[in-house]
Subunit: 138 residues, 2 copies
Amino acid sequence: MAVHVLAVLAYKEGDRVTSAFLAGSVNTNPVIIRRLLLTLQRAKLVDTCKGAGSGSRLNRSPGRINLAEIYRAVEEAEPFATPARKPNTACPVGHCIRKELDRIFESAQKAMERDLEKTSLADVINAVKASCAAKQAV
Amino acid sequence: MAVHVLAVLAYKEGDRVTSAFLAGSVNTNPVIIRRLLLTLQRAKLVDTCKGAGSGSRLNRSPGRINLAEIYRAVEEAEPFATPARKPNTACPVGHCIRKELDRIFESAQKAMERDLEKTSLADVINAVKASCAAKQAV
DNA sequence: ACAGGTGTAATCACTGCGGTTACTTATTAA
DNA sequence: TTAATAAGTAACCGCAGTGATTACACCTGT
């Protein structure tokens, strides 16, 4: 949803867009969008103004925003779930495995983020535009 | 949890281990473990027997099981959430972005799995053993 | 036969997240 | 100065996922 919202903002090239409009594209509620925009503001990805005739726009050019940044801004939970209860420390495996898994999972997450870094928001809208053009041609 | 369970089985080197014992190490309920073991059976990672004095053991040597296999066996949900509602197809961005994002996210997931493939279950227990030895030395 | 296991269903609680309504606050325009 | 517009925010609902728990049927080696 975050990528979708930012893609619309990129598509609008600097024009301020209201949360109601974004909600229309994502097909959800403006409040959901505003909550998301607050997160994206904290990450300095968007710039939002209150008041009549205002809204949000990108804080940087789409070419200078990559998907890993968006991922980090939005996703605070780890992709790998660790059980709420602590393992049994009396078991030799249980005693030490948690730290080891944290190390391994962090590496995997970093690998994923490095892949996301390769795609910019500009790449996304270019692909979207190309895809739309292809459909219209047919 | 899956890695923890399989690590204990690897640690026990072929001995059959009961779900109650595994539950003790993970600090959870035997039923949870049995449900997990059913999934791991389907993936041919473990071999479980019913009856008195039985339990589960690895189906392959720990060196031939990597964490990506475990991930695929256990995790059926995509790491990236896509909104339940379809985007607004009247919006040029909403109309085409979903397919594009699927492509990008699949690539990122693949990158993550490739990283997980680099670590085998044997690597995990070796690291755990080393970590325990270090602690005891202190 | 029986004791020790798994398989499995039913149910509960907790959590996270999207959805919705309603209200407050800030800004622009008339 | 007032009205309109839009974000900020709190409160609450519903849904889905998941671990936890209990209970019971079924299998198997001694």
